[in-house]
């Protein structure tokens, strides 16, 4: 019991802490790095949830590719520490925090009141289920979700073309060609 709890609480703390840092650090580069750490921590939580494949993808895609993208863009911009990192407006800021916090509160209360009704075993992680293998996932992916998967491919193509096109938009950096 404790053995499962301690890593969870440590990881949770780390995730939340770095997530907090991500949204509060005045320097965007720091934000990006904190985000990366959050994601890595999350990957470990995924591992703990018997989902090694997803955990791996998380590491590779998110912590790797996406974060690199972010960092590179930030480098490109050459940003300094921001003087005022947050939006102005006391009232609206209050509303923003309050509404988000309230949402979290409601969700948590809802979760606490509802999960016992779920049709799932809640006592331990993955009872009766082995750590999922990538084979199972692949089978699902190419059977049930084949269409979505293909569309995903299309999507990536679109994004590739789109990103290139955006970089060449009239009035953009390559305007002189």
């Amino acid at each position: 019991m404790l053995g499962a709890a301690i890593p969870f609480y440590i990881l949770s703390f780390l995730v939340l802490f770095f997530a907090y840092k991500t949204i509060t650090s005045p320097n965007p580069i720091h934000c990006a790095l904190h985000l990366a750490i959050t994601m890595i921590n999350l990957a470990f939580i995924f591992f703990g949830l018997n989902s090694p494949f997803i955990g791996g993808v998380q590491l590779v895609v998110y912590a790797g590719a996406v974060m690199v993208l972010f960092v590179m863009v930030l480098m490109l911009f050459d940003l300094k520490t921001e003087v005022r990192a947050f939006s102005r407006g006391l009232f609206s800021s209050f509303l923003k925090v309050a509404s988000s916090g309230f949402l979290a509160g409601i969700l948590i209360v809802g979760v606490l009141m509802s999960t016992d009704m779920l049709d799932v075993t809640s006592d331990s992680v993955g009872v009766g289920v082995k750590a999922t293998s990538s084979t199972d996932i692949a089978l699902l992916l190419f059977n049930q979700y084949v269409f979505a998967f293909e569309v995903l491919g299309l999507l990536l193509l679109l994004v590739a073309v789109g990103a290139v096109a955006v970089s060449r938009i009239p009035g953009g950096t390559h305007a002189n060609d």
């Binding site: 809802g110 509802s114 049709d119 269409f147 979505a148 679109l158 096109a165 009239p170 009035g171």
Partner: protein
């Protein structure tokens, strides 16, 4: 796990495949020509060929009720109608885009490519019978649109619009996705048919499922710009190039509403615990009607005014959707919604489309006062605007009137009497701003700043739309009854 999918499934999605293939042509030609734009007419012709092919393939699949890819997609009356709507929208948009300086620039091939693939995304949304497919469809559609908006020649506002749309769209997607995750967690599946079986029971017992449903619905509300999730609409519609505004305000909305209908048809708001959800949606619908109409009154920019008007129209459709969601004579609501979408598409497409003709440069923006004296200067354009505005206002005998009639009928029948009254009050308010352009065109004699471009294709398209507004009013019955019979299978 032997067969992954059948040949029939591919046949069913063939319109999307056709569109995708067609979309590649202009891009390929551009690449082969060494990255120089070919003739824009040729470019849209490829696109139109794809659209027409897709249309033919769609028509070939008319009258079936099938699921494909293990239930991920559904091909029934609703999806058929939505396909037709978005295909028509796309065809018109292609024509408009070619005639608009903001879109017809040296990235036109990419533009057409993205537009057609956005269309693919829309069709997926229209087909989707699975929350995951829905999400992927929405993202395909939206990501293309973000980029498309940014591709405008207009340097500032279009970028702002694209970015706003992007951030808010992603934000809303995340919220919706969160909802989907709850639904998945409580049901164990994201397929509509699986959810339907347990929805009534779960709504009564499980709060997480309720959260899931609410968050998903609110995410959809963002897409169809329901108050208070509508605030992106005016900004984005105004900033985007006009052909795209027409495309978004009709296509995106049509398919999102269609999925909304599919979702609500799962009887998620039938159960007693869901009464409050229904009430909340009623309030949202009423507020949408009022907020859209009231805000539109204050606008001087025609595009922005029409954007707010499209918000208000979402409110009317919400009335129909609610009527379709509470059981009983749901079919009335559903048919009303689909008919309204058809009507709304025709008139909104026309209204935005005619604005294209006034845009000489990418930066052009049309104020209401620019129209003054148009009635004398260009009777054709003035008459078209008049027809579209009257139809949007719901004045008989236009198609807009029948749309309202059917929606109000459904609402009254299903007991949303007060909602109907709010709708009526909203309509009265809306008359004011719909009349404004007419007043300006015919009743103010000073010369306005508007100059009409001579673009044959666009004029043709708009004339056809204007005539349809009237004609569809007279053949409303045949459309409506066809829709009704086509939608019969929507409800289990």
């Amino acid at each position: 796990m032997s067969t992954q999918f059948e040949m029939l499934d591919l046949l069913l999605v063939s319109p999307a495949i056709a569109l995708f293939l067609a979309s590649l042509i202009p891009l390929a030609i551009k690449v082969l020509r060494g990255n120089t734009e070919s003739n824009s007419v040729a470019t849209i012709m490829y696109g139109l060929v794809g659209v027409v092919t897709a249309m033919v393939l769609t028509l070939a699949n008319y009258g079936i009720d099938k699921v494909a890819f293990q239930g991920a997609l559904r091909f029934d009356g609703l999806s058929f109608w939505m396909q037709m709507v978005v295909l028509v929208v796309a065809a018109v948009t292609l024509i408009l885009s070619r005639d608009n300086p903001a879109t017809n620039n040296r990235l036109f091939s990419e533009y057409v490519f993205l537009l057609l693939n956005s269309l693919v995304g829309m069709m997926i949304v229209a087909w989707s019978n699975d929350l995951m497919s829905l999400f992927i469809g929405i993202e395909t559609m939206s990501l293309c649109l973000y980029i498309l908006i940014a591709l405008s020649s207009e340097p500032r506002k279009s970028k702002e619009a694209a970015f706003k749309y992007f951030v808010l769209g992603s934000f809303a997607s995340a919220i919706m996705l969160y909802g989907i995750s709850f639904i998945y967690g409580t049901v164990g599946s994201t397929y509509i048919q699986d959810i339907t079986q347990v929805s009534i029971q779960l709504m009564n017992t499980n709060r997480l499922f309720l959260f899931g449903v609410v968050l998903t619905i609110l995410g959809l509300c963002f897409k169809v710009s329901v108050f208070p999730f509508h605030s992106w609409t005016p900004d984005v519609y105004q900033g985007a190039p006009t052909p795209l505004t027409a495309f978004m305000s009709t296509g995106v909305k049509a398919v999102s509403l269609a999925f909304f209908l599919r979702f609500i048809a799962m009887e998620v708001i039938v159960s007693e615990r869901a009464i409050l959800l229904m009430n909340a949606l009623e309030w949202l619908a009423a507020f949408t009607i009022l907020a859209g109409n009231i805000a539109a009154i204050m606008q001087d920019n025609l595009k922005r005014m029409l954007a707010y008007s499209s918000v208000a129209h979402s409110g009317y459709v919400m009335m129909g959707i609610l009527a379709a969601g509470v059981g009983g004579e749901s079919i009335l609501g559903a048919s009303g919604v689909v008919f309204y979408i058809v009507a709304y598409t025709i008139m909104t497409l026309g209204a935005f489309g005619i604005l294209v003709l006034f845009e000489k440069r990418a930066e052009s923006s049309l104020e209401v006062s620019d129209l003054s004296g148009l009635g004398a200067r260009n009777p054709w354009a003035a008459a078209c605007i008049t027809i579209f505005m009257l139809s949007l206002a719901g004045i008989p005998p236009t198609v807009g009137f029948f749309g309202k009639l059917f929606i109000f009928s459904a609402a009254v029948k299903q007991g949303f009497f007060w909602l109907a009254v709010w709708g009526v009050i909203g309509s009265v308010i809306s008359v004011y701003y719909y009349l404004r352009p007419i007043v300006t065109m015919y009743m103010q004699n000073d010369e306005g700043a508007s100059v009409l471009q001579t673009k044959g294709l666009t004029r043709l398209a708009i004339s056809v739309l204007a005539i349809s507004v009237i004609v569809f009013g007279f053949i409303a019955e045949s459309i409506y009854s066809t829709v009704t019979s086509d939608l019969a299978s929507l409800f289990f």
